[in-house]
């Protein structure tokens, strides 16, 4: 797994549950002492060892942890901005999800993001098929899509349905495009203070 993803999980655990929890998880999962380097690759097993150790220690199902992680990603301003480049509004953003792996590769050619296919149901719901190299991406996506909906100020019901073949289905029911004012997004990068 790419170090960027591992380090994001590390930051998620440390920022959400505190440094002592992260230390304990790192010890159990045999994470390198200095934590993950964002620009180095790591064995997939390490990622799952870390998630299992955290779930175990927090007494929380791994699924819930992954959804929370997805939501946490949107709190990272650089990532939030990169996601918001995907569309003018939430509906537009959802359409751009088809391009997510390509956008990921544009930023970092080694980044292996899951393959996403968006389709519309007759009742207006959107179905997002998630096919990643490793399981769990559907949960991360569900958490992330909820947080992005909030960011745009859209009201949407989002659920993740595991499929038999190990893939995930994420359903998006967009109820109100402009439910709230949402967070501001300027194309121009804010000037560093």
């Amino acid at each position: 797994m790419h170090g960027l993803i591992n380090r994001s999980i590390q930051h998620f655990l440390r920022d959400t549950y505190g440094a002592p929890l992260w230390q304990a998880v790192a010890e159990v999962a045999c994470v390198p002492a200095a934590g993950f380097e964002a620009m180095l690759p790591y064995d997939d097993g390490l990622t799952f060892a870390m998630l299992d150790a955290a779930a175990d220690r927090l007494g929380k199902p791994r699924a819930a942890l992954l959804e929370d992680f997805g939501a946490f990603l949107v709190t990272l301003e650089p990532l939030r901005r990169l996601l918001r480049f995907g569309g003018v509004d939430y509906a537009d953003f959802l359409v751009s999800l088809n391009e997510l792996p390509a956008r990921g590769r544009m930023a970092l050619p080694e980044l292996d993001l899951p393959h996403l296919t968006l389709s519309a149901e007759p009742d207006g719901r959107l179905l997002l098929r998630v096919q990643g190299q490793v399981p769990g991406w559907g949960l991360v996506l569900a958490g992330l899509l909820r947080a992005v909906a909030d960011d745009y100020g859209a009201l949407a019901l989002i659920d993740r349905v595991p499929l038999d073949d190990g893939r995930d289905l994420v359903t998006v029911h967009l109820l109100d495009e402009s439910h709230a004012s949402g967070r501001r997004f300027d194309l121009a990068q804010p000037v560093a203070p």
Binding site: A38, M39, L40, L82, F85, V88, A107, L108, L187, Q189
Partner: protein, 357 residues
């Protein structure tokens, strides 16, 4: 225009519709007057409706091709890649293409412009949003890429900084003795080779002093290893105090030390230095209440005695002098002087010489 295609207009489009298709279009009439302008271009020029009816030349400068003017060379510009800047916003570069529109007699041209590589600055300077760009433009992707690249670069720079710090620490570790903090054998060999090469090229001469502790084993055996370590640290402190900033002090074995003394040093000064070190080391000191008594034997070789300076031979000779000092009764310093016999076999003679008190 491709041969065979009709020269007749293909479609009639309103200025508003054209503005949505090409938000940075500019339509000029035969006299170079602005007839319509796309909404984004109007925003960038700092005035919206004010532009229509005004002469092009009042609002824009053509920067390339050079000497092109409107309306004189207007039709000649058609089909060529153009660079221009709005007069009121000279910092915003625009590039694009013009094609002739309307009947030839009317001589109008239509420009389609974009920001090119300066897009991020234009977005910032003019407060543009995604709706200011045509969906066909790769503006969003370019901005996205710019931010993604900046984020990745900052991660890489941070990684490089961490790796460099780790490398420096590892290098320092690899070159120092963990107990005393002195240079280790590897560091000494490196410095000695470098110094000898410098001297061979005409640089300053140097001296090599090999120091071996006397009675150290007794301290170790009777008071334990902790006491032994304490002694070694004490010796390191004494040597550091006696060395000058340009010298190198190394611990090269259990109780063996080497001083690399740079610069031409008088024989007598070296002899005095060796004796001062021995005197300081012989001064009794206590370890946890128990007295520790040690001494040292020293053998010194000078680079002036070798032509060219040979680090390896100097080390062998300094060792030989050191063992001669030991054989001569320990607690003494032998300097192989200028003109002194250099071969190890002749060292007995040097050792036999009475040690200077």
């Amino acid at each position: 225009m491709t041969a065979g295609q009709p020269q007749t207009p293909v479609a009639e489009v309103s200025a508003a519709a054209l503005g949505r298709l090409m938000p940075m279009f500019l339509w000029l009439g035969a006299q170079g007057e602005i007839r319509a302008v796309g909404p984004t271009l109007a925003k960038v020029c700092g005035s919206s409706l004010g532009l229509v009816g005004q002469p092009f030349a009042e609002h824009f400068t053509i920067t390339s091709p050079h000497h092109a003017t409107v309306p004189t060379t207007m039709r000649a510009l058609a089909g060529k890649r153009l660079h221009l800047t709005p007069r009121r916003e000279p910092g915003t570069g625009l590039r694009g293409l013009a094609v002739p529109v309307g009947p030839a007699a009317q001589g109008g041209v239509l420009f389609n412009l974009s920001f090119g590589v300066g897009i991020a600055e234009a977005v910032r300077d003019h407060g543009l949003t995604d709706t200011d760009f045509a969906p066909t433009e790769l503006a969003m992707e370019l901005l996205y890429l710019q931010e993604a690249k900046a984020a990745v670069m900052s991660e890489l720079l941070a990684l490089n900084a961490r790796l460099q710090t780790a490398q420096r620490a590892a290098e320092a570790q690899a070159l120092s003795d963990p107990l005393t903090g002195l240079a280790n054998r590897r560091a000494l060999e490196r410095e000695l080779a470098r110094t000898a090469a410098e001297t061979a090229r005409g640089g300053a001469s140097f001296a090599l002093a090999h120091i071996d502790l006397d009675h150290f084993k007794a301290v170790n055996d009777t008071l334990g290893h902790a006491a032994g370590d304490h002694v070694l640290i004490h010796v390191a402190d004494v040597l550091r105090a006696e060395a000058r900033r340009s010298d190198l002090v190394a611990r090269v074995g259990g109780d063996e030390f080497v001083l690399l003394l740079r610069g031409a040093i008088d024989l007598a000064v070296l002899q005095a230095l060796g004796e001062r070190v021995i005197t300081r080391l012989e001064a009794p000191f206590a370890y946890e209440g128990a007295p520790c008594r040690i001494s040292a034997s020293i053998g010194i070789a000078l680079s002036q005695c070798y032509d060219p300076p040979d680090a390896e031979r100097m080390a062998t000779d300094a060792d030989a002098a050191l063992y001669a000092a030991k054989r001569g009764g320990r607690g003494r310093c032998i300097v192989l002087g200028q003109g002194a016999p250099r071969a190890a076999s002749s060292l007995a003679a040097a050792a036999a010489a009475p040690p200077s008190a």
